[in-house]
């Protein structure tokens, strides 16, 4: 095995544990491939979709229904004559946004909640964790539907400026606001382990405030597992949105998502199989990519296998 010595400039910068993890991740071909794929998907969905030659995803052409893939419509058209390719791009935007924003919300709530609970300990911790347990016991699906309605009603006015995204933003927050439970538990356990370490005592002896110790010294040390879990949460949220849409309580027209495309495609399973297969392919490949990336991150951030 070749061992490469750090170069002068690397030495000067110092290598953080994060940088080490990145170096390990780069060696994982599958994870890197997945990351490129996700990047590509993001570019296609958000940038290519804005280009002028992409058709309006909602433009109907009833004379050209169920057109098979051709030069005009590279992936064909659906039952209303809409271009499938552009519908996949715009649907992808929603699916990705659900994944990322809901995960972001979940991370924010979960880490803050878990960190405070773990650091406070004692009775505060017990009460905070019982709240989490209670929320766990309520069916996720029911809760998201209720929460979505609760958020959507009063926020309708404020969200108008978002245009076509206005009616899906509540969904993002509803999913995120419930997806944090596991993250809170993970973070709490980590914080409880780390707060006993000597460097926390040392930080206290330097006269730092409790908040500063918690969020500057303890929380960064817990981020590894949280990031891994979050990466695996993104596909599960995308999937969750798909099932909500499939049930008719998720995304509403004129928006679409991959879940809706798959649902519509399933109606024409026997005659126009490509309407199901093509969106399904985009959907599952993206989910695979997120899962592989999550696995890769877990290996890269695994403390037991790392140096020192």
């Amino acid at each position: 095995m070749r061992i490469s010595l750090p170069t002068e400039s690397e030495l000067e910068k110092g290598s953080s544990l994060g940088r080490d993890a990145w170096a390990r991740l780069r060696k994982n071909k599958l994870a890197m491939l997945s990351m490129c794929f996700i990047g590509l998907m993001l570019i296609i969905c958000f940038i290519v979709a804005q280009l002028p030659f992409i058709d309006d995803p909602n433009e109907q052409n009833l004379e050209n229904r169920f057109a098979p893939p051709s030069g005009d419509h590279i992936m064909g058209t659906d039952q209303l004559g809409r271009d499938l390719f552009s519908r996949i791009l715009f649907g992808g935007q929603i699916s990705m946004l659900v994944g990322f924003i809901a995960t972001g919300v979940a991370l924010l709530i979960g880490i803050t909640y878990g960190a405070i609970s773990g650091y406070a300990g004692g009775r505060t911790d017990a009460i905070m964790m019982r709240v989490v347990d209670t929320l766990y016991a309520i069916p996720f699906l029911v809760l998201v539907i209720v929460l979505k309605v609760v958020i959507a009603g009063p926020m309708e006015e404020q969200l108008k400026w978002m245009g076509r995204f206005a009616n899906i933003v509540p969904l993002f927050f509803a999913i995120g606001a419930l997806g944090w439970l596991t993250l809170a538990r993970i973070t709490r356990t980590q914080v409880m382990a780390i707060k006993e370490q000597e460097f926390v005592e040392a930080a206290t002896s330097l006269g730092l405030s409790k908040m500063r110790i918690l969020f500057r010294h303890i929380v960064p040390n817990t981020l590894g597992p949280a990031i891994v879990y979050a990466t695996l949460t993104i596909p599960s949220f995308i999937l969750f949105e798909a099932s909500l849409s499939y049930l008719g309580v998720g995304i509403e027209a004129p928006n679409s998502s991959w879940g809706i495309l798959i649902k519509e495609g399933a109606d024409f399973l026997e005659t126009q199989l490509y309407l199901l297969i093509i969106p399904g392919l985009f959907f599952s490949l993206t989910l695979f990519a997120f899962n592989f990336l999550g696995d890769g991150l877990r290996d890269a951030l695994d403390v037991r296998a790392s140096k020192d």
């Binding site: 030495l11 000067e12 910068k13 110092g14 290598s15 953080s16 544990l17 994060g18 004692g122 370490q197 000597e198 460097f199 005592e201 040392a202 930080a203 206290t204 002896s205 330097l206 006269g207 730092l208 405030s209 500063r212 500057r216 010294h217 960064p220 040390n221 140096k307 020192d308």
Partner: protein, 324 residues
């Protein structure tokens, strides 16, 4: 008036097995610029004493049951958390036993060293970093401009302890508490670290509370020595007096069990038995069951021995069995 006056400090831990009296009535003064040593075996309460002063004892299960520690008219044991935050890290700072675990692995050395400057002195990032580089240079870290940007895992044990010392002294504190700062280090590095603490102390005029179980270290660095046993101070004298004229049986036993003081081929003297279980109340003299040097029959069995000044500035627990 001493810089810090600890009086009758009592720190107890309320555990499932009962109340552990880890520190049970400890008093000592810390004079400006002097080094005082606290020596004793594991579990004698020397670390807990210092942790109590800085409010580092985990509560619960720990609880400070009584006493006072007056530092500049403030009682460290009773003052508000916020006031304590202004003192620790600025006027009283601490270095820990294990440099491998006392630095945050996720933060650069520069971030950690500059933290006291930034929160206590309100210094901006750039100036604080300059100070940090200076501080690292003063503790003998080569190429501090480069090293300051590194992470703790890129430092060796000795370098980390140097960095810890730089961090503790960067605000020029009046008191430095050193909790076995050399225990986790190689023998060769130990010596360097001791020299470093000594020289920095001389330059800054800092008083040092030095905790150790290593008598050789004590003799080298301390002006005054407190010997602790079972949560109490059993003997206090200046360093030279203690080593030439130890009075208490425990101190004498400790001195006898230093390998270097004995003849080759002779069996090494050890103190038999274990330190007493502090969860059970101790009646009379705590050292009685292990007292081989003195006369354990004469040890007090009912009343607790009194801490008395027998010679000038030589204090000892007045138990007849331990003094013979």
């Amino acid at each position: 008036m001493p810089l810090l006056e600890v009086k009758n400090l009592k720190t107890h831990f309320h555990t499932r097995d009962g109340i552990v009296r880890a520190v049970d009535g400890v008093s000592f003064p810390v004079e400006k610029g002097k080094t005082i040593g606290i020596v004793g075996e594991s579990g004698s309460g020397k670390s807990v004493t210092c942790y109590s002063l800085l409010g580092l004892v985990p509560m619960p299960p720990g609880k400070i049951e009584g006493g006072s520690a007056i530092f500049d008219d403030t009682d460290l044991l009773k003052c508000h958390e916020n006031d304590l935050c202004k003192i620790r890290g600025k006027r009283i700072s601490m270095i820990f036993q294990d440099p491998m675990t006392s630095l945050n692995p996720y933060l650069r050395i520069s971030t950690q060293i500059t933290e006291p400057l930034r929160i206590h002195m309100g210094m901006d990032k750039k100036r604080a970093k300059k100070e940090a580089i200076e501080a690292l240079r003063e503790v003998g870290i080569p190429e501090p401009e480069k090293r300051v940007n590194m992470y703790p895992h890129e430092f060796s044990g000795g370098m980390r302890q140097r960095a810890m010392i730089a961090m503790a002294l960067i605000t020029k504190p009046e008191i430095l508490i050193a909790d076995e700062p050399t225990t986790a280090l190689d023998v060769t590095v130990q010596k360097q670290i001791l020299e470093l603490i000594k020289s920095r102390q001389k330059e800054l005029g800092t008083a040092v509370i030095f905790i150790t179980h290593d008598l050789a270290v004590i003799s080298e660095i301390c002006d005054e020595v407190n010997v602790m046993y079972a949560g109490k101070i059993v003997e206090r004298a200046n360093s030279r007096e203690l080593f030439s004229n130890p009075l208490h049986a425990y101190t004498r036993s400790l001195l006898q069990s230093i390998p270097a003081t004995q003849l080759k081929g002779e069996k090494l003297f050890t103190i038999s038995g274990l330190p007493p279980n502090l969860a059970k109340p101790i009646q009379g003299c705590a050292f009685r069951p292990r007292n081989q040097i003195g006369n354990s029959d004469e040890c007090l069995t009912q009343s607790t021995p009194e801490f008395k000044e027998l010679d000038s500035n030589h204090w000892v627990q007045n138990c007849p069995g331990c003094l013979t």
